[in-house]
Symmetry: D2
Subunit: 319 residues, 4 copies
């Protein structure tokens, strides 16, 4: 079978590199180009094989049937449009086209919840890493109208440092991150809130949302610990998740607490649900783990691309 | 000046070792004995100096004017009683005598909140590490009656592995903890809840409490991220903390998010407060960092002992 | 095509688990059984899929065409013999059958150097992790007789903690290993020396060998830094390695210093060679990186099994 | 007693910050100024207390009786000269004035080996971190003429990342250093070689030296593993070290292998010595651990300053 050529814009960041690795190991795709303006002309090892970066301006976008953009927020949107003009499909890993960012009408790539729209799309907005982890955890409760309207959803999340990219900044040096832990984007100030609020609103969820991300001294992975107020207690806390996710290849429900170790280097979401004892309001604790570079970025992007290109949704994705 | 002899029961664990180090560097104390049944007779380096452990049974408790017990929960209570019989004062680092554990009437060693009772005490129950970090963060709101009665306090906490002790268990091997992160004691099942609920009830706080601890891949430190529902919005979110903690040598209020790095190896609590944007209910986000072995264990124990012995409260404590 | 059934004895350790993962993802093999006496009956997730461990005594060894033994040193030999009695081939990951351990005549599984013998073998002694990293680095110099007879080869090696297994011991707790580094097995006392000396002697190398392993605060990977005295200076330091390893799928020669990051989760050896400036004796510095659980254990074991079973040598091995 | 004012040039780097912390806790010194051109005017927390950085150009150098320069190599020399012109003494932590760098005649601050010269000095060149760890380990053998002239000393060293400073560079991001390990400055190309060779030559040591540093995924600490060829076997391998270092407050000889954990946050060198079995040439393995920011930089600088100022050599230094 001929391989389908795909390209990566912004390939020198962590998500871009992960995408290149996945594409090179994919049974049906080939890597048409990998751009990185700041490293154009340089050759790097990705997944054990050499790749030479080209400038984003220097590439013939139509050499690819589908273009992944891992360009920075703000810059990505324009390149997605250019790729479309050449006839290429596009998956945008930036925040530019996601819900709540003023660009409605673009298919939102939370794959498991949106397959019908994704299959026919020529542009897909790939979800943020935190929203992926939180929204996939909350969707089953939302679908059954179980979240208390006047309550507060509290999502405390912790991410490995690759979530912050590989631009050199002092705060992300090993000497600053190791043996450390801190919150950031506090007070509901993180950019991902718009994306989550817009999606929850579409789902008819009107509870308040408090979202506090933290920086973990690990390379990869996000754990979200979410307290959810319910309209009524549930006899079988896990039932909504089983109902929605039965048979999903990339969603794992677990009696054990999910850990980063369970999901890194895999395109998986692992979710556990516990009733909270000793509270007057019925509440659940939902924990959800993903690899921020896989299901939280490159893996889900490829999962979406597989759907857009009519391939097996799981092709080339480590489970 | 003559040094006051003090002893440590259960000195081979992380908190016990930290206590020995602090005592050896203390200007007014000397280490009368350090017990460790499983290592009796062996000599170890603590803080650069050799210490020989003796059996807990083999020690003359009255060789010390004050005894610190870092023995396991359950076993500690009896040894505190024995120490008292010999006339020694005692600081119990175990959970045995803390509020909510069926032993009311014992002075509770949250030092900054309880000095009057502590100065005259012969027995002090040293607070748990998580309760120290959470209760010191909440006390200013409780004192002003600002916490909404029918709301939910959500405390998400993350601790370094020394909080789990140094008994060899597979789950705490480097190969299991590194590059990992997970919740434990979920569903409001952690032992420390009783201690916190009893104390909050004494303070007149009747909000629900959700407490979820996590295991961090770091050696030391606890960060607590606490969402608190208020009876009314505050113009100056930090005001209650300034009012209560002004001049406290070990409490640091900060505009910056506290990190573990700010507090490790120091007997400090660092607290930051942020209003939460975009919620209908007025809420605050309070974050609090301590070193679990210092302000969360050995440091606060020594702070209490200083008070009990009539010494300068800050003597021998790294700030 | 029918899959060939293979079994793993001692599957609950780090190397055994890695083997199970590789087998489950292998295109031509199936996992007939996975034994773990201390966890018999328990089900665990390996590579995202559940595996139920059985007792080593309870298994029909002939359910497998080939048995991998990852049992402890000393215990393994007997089980390899039992497997052979049932007609199964065997790859022994323990030290029991390796050169220098009194069991000559067994094929030694340094795959790249010994293919002819391995293809027809029914038993293979899989090399130790340190010997794999050191011997593959030295073989090209040995083959050309370039190592000075009366000189000293100094091999300083550092390994991640999975090299020490997952039996709970205090010295391998996260609290002891993190932010730490130390030598062990000093003074040429490490068990792997016999294996290396016997192999070097077979190759006609008579230089002294000093081998000092160290414990790294990482999960996986070995880096060996080797100083080698030469019989004469080399114009092109890398030439012997290119001559011997050209076209090898799992050996990577690099101008850049190899790092653990380059090789973890891959069945690769990455080698770099530098001339040493400012010494009277001509010497080379050779550095070599492997993943101790892959090329240093499970990966090489599978590479050998592929050869023994007439499969493509690279089948199922991540490059 | 009045405190002696001292200043720190280049105070925003890791060594400069460590110096400020030590000075603020010193019983006899006060911090007159702390300069950092790139952060002038900003206030930072160092050791729990706020410090406001000033520009290096803006400071009155004679406000200090002694100036520590932690400025970059190349820039430091000029500022040491300026400080001297104002009458201040100076300790230079850069490489500018060290042996082998073309500036002979400056007292070299390997304190334990050079006290007589240091006490009367107005300028001291503080040793590099690697040289401190290696030279203090080798000095006892050199003093007794025990190192084989025609042999090779092989020093493999590994350092935590604070040794590389806190200038943001991609290679030192947490995402690059964690779970990694690699050699650098290979082939005897590291700047510290001149300093070591010049010093060894002064000591009459003419063996070849091979020095290979490595980057550890830890914040602090250096471990040096050194193979030394001897002129004859030693009955009591530790005897030369005991003879030279008996009573030294900062040098610890140990039967156990020294680890980083033993020395971090302390101004200590911990050394262990083992005979090497199975070699024709008599050789020793010497291992030596220091904290690169303490005995390897700020601690030793303060130790030297104590001598220069007529204070107790151990004042203000954590043991």
């Amino acid at each position: 079978m001929n391989r389908i050529p795909v390209g990566v814009l912004g390939a020198s960041g962590y998500a871009g590199r992960e995408l290149c690795t996945l594409i090179m190991r994919h049974p049906n795709l080939s890597l048409a180009f990998a751009t990185a303006n700041d490293q154009r002309g340089s050759t790097t090892q990705i997944g054990g094989r050499p790749i030479t970066f080209v400038g984003t301006d220097d590439v013939a976008l139509n050499a690819a049937e589908l273009v992944f953009s891992a360009l920075p927020h703000g810059a990505s949107k324009e390149w997605v449009a250019r790729a479309r003009e050449t006839g290429a499909r596009a998956v945008d890993l930036s925040a530019d086209l996601r819900p709540g960012n003023g660009c409605e009408g673009i298919a939102y790539g939370l794959t498991e919840l949106n397959r019908a729209a994704l299959e026919g799309s020529s542009i897909v907005a790939n979800p943020g890493c935190y929203p992926t982890s939180i929204l996939l955890a909350l969707a089953p409760l939302a679908a059954q109208g179980l979240i208390a309207k006047d309550g507060t959803i509290v999502a405390n999340c912790a991410s490995g440092v690759t979530g912050a990219g590989n631009t050199p900044k002092r705060e992300f040096l090993f000497g600053e991150v190791a043996e450390n832990f801190r919150a950031y984007g506090v007070g509901n100030s993180h950019r991902h809130l718009n994306e989550m609020r817009a999606t929850l609103a579409q789902w008819g969820v009107h509870a308040d949302l408090v979202f506090t991300p933290h920086l973990l001294p690990v390379v990869r992975g996000i754990l979200s610990t979410i307290t959810v107020p319910l309209v009524r207690p549930l006899d079988d806390a896990m039932a909504p998740w089983r109902a929605m996710y039965d048979g999903e290849p990339f969603i794992e429900l677990s009696d054990q607490q999910p850990s980063l170790r369970d999901v890194v280097h895999r395109n998986a979401v692992r979710i556990s649900v516990s009733a909270l004892a000793g509270t007057r309001t019925p509440m659940l604790l939902v924990t959800s783990a993903i690899d921020n570079l896989m299901k939280g970025a490159a893996g889900q992007a490829l999962q979406n691309a597989n759907l857009m290109l009519g391939l097996d949704e799981t092709a080339g994705l480590p489970t």
